[in-house]
């Protein structure tokens, strides 16, 4: 890897980091606007035209609020909690292939920060790390509501990670690789994995809702029972980090779903387009297509949030252990039979 390659990678890292922050920022705005439209309301419309400066106003408010650290909390862990939450949220996007190879000057560069051959496992690991931020924060608050929220988050994530892992195993049997770059490349020309793994995708998206703590699985922060859940004691930008991490998680898991199941940057007729617009614009169009898919998934996350009420805790566990896990195992067996006898 020479200097130019390193510079390109660094630029890519910074750009992706900024993009995920901006998308997370504007997800809060989109959430409020979309919620308003679902409920026949207007939504934020005072800060700037159509309220598009609302996220900036919210951010300024978050920074200017008083920072409260409870006396009886464990101060070190109280600060580690939100830091860990936002850090694990941000590093997940490192292995996602944002497009095909792009030509800059005479050389080709990957539109991907790094292509590690266990990319899928890496994402899986990062996602499961995410719960530590919530757990540590809830534990350090020294508040029973926070602790209950943290315990719920931990048990929920463990339960749903199993089903998620099993649904990924079925996907691996189809793709035969853990590298996200290869998985995306394999789906070229309508070989989207969702066509081969519809049940796997269904399982994956349900688990993604649970892993990102979104409704109907937002029990860790369920305000009707637990005040604010694990972030009850948090204020100012530390609370902001937790909320921000949720939106970044949503963005990353949308990107993962788009890459694993919905063809990533592939779109119908992309060879024809690439032949006509050249090796620089072509991959960029692919990137735009990938972002369109990601935004659709983010919209779906919000759509579900404003439609479906929260599960009761025992229903959540029932669904995870008695519903999703057996279905995931059946899916693995079915995929195995299909590969052996049909393919």
């Amino acid at each position: 890897m020479d200097t130019r390659e390193i510079i390109v990678r660094l630029v890519l890292i910074v750009v992706i980091f900024l993009i995920s922050l901006v998308i997370a920022m504007y997800s809060t705005y989109a959430e409020r606007k979309i919620a308003a439209f679902f409920q026949d309301r207007v939504g934020p419309n005072r800060a700037g035209p159509f309220g598009i400066l609302q996220p900036l106003a919210d951010g300024a408010k978050m920074f200017l609020k008083e920072e409260i650290i409870p006396t009886n909390s464990s101060k070190f862990l109280f600060i580690v909690g939100p830091s860990l939450a936002i850090m694990t949220a941000c590093i997940g996007s490192a292995v996602i292939p944002w497009g095909q190879q792009i030509q800059i000057g005479t050389r080709m560069y990957d539109l991907q920060v790094t292509d590690i051959n266990v990319g899928l496992l890496y994402i899986f690991g990062v996602v499961s790390l995410g719960v530590y931020g919530v757990m540590i924060g809830g534990w350090a608050s020294n508040n029973k509501y926070s602790l209950l929220g943290a315990i719920r988050a931990a048990s929920q994530n463990i339960s749903y990670e199993i089903a998620m892992g099993l649904s990924i195993i079925a996907l691996l049997m189809v793709t035969n690789t853990l590298s996200l770059k290869e998985i995306a490349a394999q789906q070229h020309g309508w070989h989207w994995n969702v066509l081969y793994q519809p049940i796997g995708f269904l399982l994956f998206i349900v688990c993604a809702f649970a892993e990102t703590n979104r409704t109907p699985f937002d029990l860790p922060e369920c305000e009707t029972e637990l005040v604010g859940g694990y972030h009850t004691e948090y204020s100012s930008m530390k609370l902001g980090f937790y909320l921000f991490a949720e939106y970044i998680n949503m963005f990353v898991s949308s990107a993962v779903m788009a890459t694993l199941y919905w063809g990533g940057y592939n779109y119908p007729g992309m060879d024809w387009v690439a032949a006509h617009v050249g090796p620089v614009v072509g991959p960029l169009i692919g990137m735009v297509v990938l972002f369109a898919k990601i935004f659709l998934f983010i919209f779906f996350f919000m759509w579900v949030r404003w439609t479906i009420p929260r599960f009761r805790y025992d229903q959540l566990m029932d669904l995870g252990w008695k519903g999703l896990i057996p279905l995931a195992i059946a899916n693995i067996i079915g995929t195995g039979l299909w590969i052996t006898f049909v393919k």
Binding site: I34, A36, F37, F38, Q39, D40, R41, V42, N45, W303, V304, W306, T307, I308, L319, G323
Partner: protein, 166 residues
Amino acid sequence: MESLSNKRKVIESKPLSLWERTYLPAVVKGLAITLKHFLFRKDVTVRYPEQKREFSENFRGMHSLKRDDEGRERCTACGLCALSCPAEAITMIAAERKPGEENLYREEKYAAVYEINMLRCIFCGLCEEACPKEAIYLDGDIVPADYLRKDFIYGKDKLVEAPLNQ
């Protein structure tokens, strides 16, 4: 027991079928309903400071002390409004009209000070009904918000109608 009104409905609660127990049909149905709102329903919000809804004709808002056709204050400081007020929001100090002030006050006695405490007022309109001189009407706008209690005690400067020729 027999239903007398014939409105009783017997609801059968059947156990859910396997397909229903996956929650999927209900989820899809719900998503379709919310999407319909997202796409087609118009919002009903009134964008308040820019856009105001019209008050009804008998809306009772801020009080105003009226003038007669020649621009003289009608109020004669009889105190009936204060007496009728169930919230005891109105106080006044009466004064005698001096020679030369006939163009200012219609009656020989007038209210030198007239105060309404808008925090006490319940906008019932009894002062309006009690007034023998048709001097007070609750025909104004909503009483605006303020920071201090003392600023809610409205004197004649805020209550009396603007003079005719201005």
